[in-house]
Amino acid sequence: MRRMSVFPQHGTALGNLGRTANEIRQEAENSKNVLVSDLVNLSAGARFQAIRSLPMPFNERKTVRNRVNSVKLSKTILTADCRQQVSRSFRRFCASLASARQHLIIWQDTLKEIGSRFGTSVLSYFLFLKWLLQFNLFSLIINFCFITIPQIVHAPNISSTTGFRGLELLTGVGYFNQTVLFYGGYNGEVIVSKPAYNMQLAYFFTIAAYLVLCWVSLIYSMSRSFQKNFVLETGPVSGGAWRLLCSWDFSVVNEKAIQYNKNNLAIQLKESLSERLQEKNKMSLSDRIKHLSLHLLAWLLSLGLALGSCAGIYFLGTDPDLAFSFNHNPNDLRAEASTLLLPVVVSLINLIVPLLYSLISKIESYSNPRAKIYISIIRNVVLKMSVLGILCFYWLNFVPDNISCWETFVGQSVYRLLMIDFIFCLLGIFFGEFLRNVIGTMCIQSLGVPEFDIARNVLDLIYAQTLAWIGIYFSPLLPVMQVLKLFIIFYLKKISLSMNCQPPKHTGRAAQIQTVFIALLFFPSFVGVLSMVAYTVWSLKPSDQCGPFQGLDTPFQTIFHWTDSIQNFPESNWVWWIFENILRSELFYYLISLIVLVITYFLWQITQGRKQLIKTLREQIVNEGKDKAFLLNKLQNLQKERREIASYRPQDFDQTPHFNPNWTNTLPLNM
């Protein structure tokens, strides 16, 4: 759609020098007519949006709209009237849907309050939390409806029940062992009802459908976010223009917060100015070598710490005395408590090692603060994902050989990890923020109020969500815990934020960091979960005594059995045909990969071409600017001459050039 412009198509001040008031009014009238005729040709929806987007005061927009409507009215025929009615009522319906949706969005007021006090970058943490909550709620609903309810209705025979003791809430064993909370509580019988309900297929397909939907949703969010935020950056970007012109947060309303933001902005501007000056001084070679070696040392230390923690966890997990003592004596309370040892160690590692990382990063010096944030994020992600990776390795390689109902064991381990992580989060809020605030304001004044570290908090959320996703296959009702956890954490963090913390100092480029977080949620986190679940379903032998896949070689065999059974029905033969010849043949996947690669190559070439085009256009604009300056000069000289001649012979000139004081309104919008 062509950009609407109510203003003259050409010229700024130049265009109006030497014109009479009448000429200017005529020009404005003409351009209004052009605007109205443009608007008339649009579809109704686009027309409404275009009229709303006109940068004019309300009354002028109303006049334009009335003129457009009168033109349309004179042009319509009767049959088109019904269509207009339908489209109008449809639009009203959409508007009322949108306003109804606003009522349903939870936490709307709370989020607005947080945004107004702390700004949009802190708000992004809470929005991320809300987004994760939606994933878990959805999983909970479909798991509950499709797997749990049929299982509850047709309950299997429970072999032995133990009484409920308090410790179960933490460890997930005992009473919970045979309930529908874990994999072991389900069995794979075909429920005999009017359409037979195959529990095996239901279990498999529900989890598969959920994972596929998550995949699609994550890719969609990631690509939209990437497109919005990592726009092509050509030309000089490191200056202060965006910081000055675009970064002021109008939604912050609290006076102290505004003052705080102003101080921050001043500091950042001064910092970037001094950085620019420093950049001009090149670093000597020895300095560069020193910096590089410090960086290398820091990386070696961080990776060493990560490897060390992984090794520690693995040895703790495979320690013969500790690991399965509970399974051998299920009634021993001490053995049950000892199952909590591994989760506590994991959480301690997740708490302490990032602090060590921030200490290590103090020895390094960075060229810009953004690099510092990204590198610290990368190190933390490497730590957390390697911890999770070693746990998965332990669960998938070591556990199935040693325990009978191993999926339930894995589900319980994940449950324990989530619970202890939650407890540590609560402790972290209490010690890390509340006590630190008390210390910072009363005892050691120099420390100051703690900053709300967005990166660390978001990475904690991603870690917990990865655990929850891993656990869904082994414990279908695990999202209940995650939903409750997220709810409680939202309110606690909000309270802690208001009481204890201050917003972070280095805000800049919040939108880009958001994209990085969504990408992190997709790439190591979700892809890892997907590969783990795929490996479990494809290659591991499910346990013989419990679970819906008892007796099969791998859980994936249910699909084979199902397609074999379908083969006998002529009307569903096509499903079998697709499965056998397309999904199971390797040629199909080779072809798809080849096509995707070719398309990617074409798109990359188009991008390169566009970059070149942008460069050429920039040069063109610079040249136009020079032309404009030249013409302006010439015009001013001409006018000076004209004025001098007019002062000698005033009777030859009956109109003086009229300078329109409202020429600010004549700026072209569609340059």
Binding site: I51, N263, K628, T664, L667
Partner: protein, 188 residues
């Protein structure tokens, strides 16, 4: 309590919904707040609210650009920054969630253009920096720093090298910064 709080007729409401980016709730809330401001004014209904009264709103009270915002959105002939209800709706619409990037950048440009000459020249930029960095001595930029900063900004944004930033160049800078849409927001 003085003055009857008159309700908006359905026709007016749907017209406001059609011509602005606000939803029905937002328009009703705006009407309520505006009527309260008018009550305090003790003038006839439908009259304009003076700039001082508008600036008592909590959303605008501490905003560094509060006066410029009122002046930009005001359609009064006296150029005194007073707002009618439609001006107020225009203000909220431009600062709302669903407003387009073009509208926001257009009004942001006019707000930053302190001398209303249609371009951001060095003086406008200087006033902008001063209103954004605070008034105390240690946060103010020195003359040298100010010159350097303005030089950097012009080097980066002034594409046609005429020494000022016009609307298109401003919109180009804005388009490379995706945070702008979410930070140029005022919600009642």
């Amino acid at each position: 309590m003085g003055g009857t709080s008159s309700k908006l007729s359905k026709d007016l409401l749907s017209e406001y919904q059609e011509l602005t980016f606000l939803t029905k709730q937002e328009i009703l809330m705006a009407h309520k707040i505006f009527s309260e401001l008018q009550d305090k004014e003790n003038g006839p209904y439908g009259a304009r609210v003076s700039m001082e009264k508008v600036l008592t709103l909590p959303e605008l009270k501490s905003n560094p650009f509060r006066k410029r915002i009122c002046q930009v959105f005001s359609t009064s002939d006296l150029k005194d920054g007073s707002l009618s209800f439609e001006d107020f709706l225009d203000l909220l619409s431009a600062f709302s969630d669903s407003a387009t990037l073009e509208i926001k950048s257009h009004y942001a440009f006019r707000i930053f253009d302190f001398d209303d000459d249609g371009t951001l020249d060095a003086r406008d930029l200087e006033k902008l920096v001063n209103s954004l960095t605070g008034e105390t001595d240690d946060t103010r930029l020195t003359g040298e720093e100010m010159k350097q900063l303005i030089g950097n900004i012009l080097e980066e944004s002034d594409i046609d090298k005429d020494g000022t930033v016009n609307l298109s160049e401003f919109q180009h800078v804005i388009s490379r910064s995706p945070d702008f849409v979410s930070s140029f927001k005022i919600v009642l």
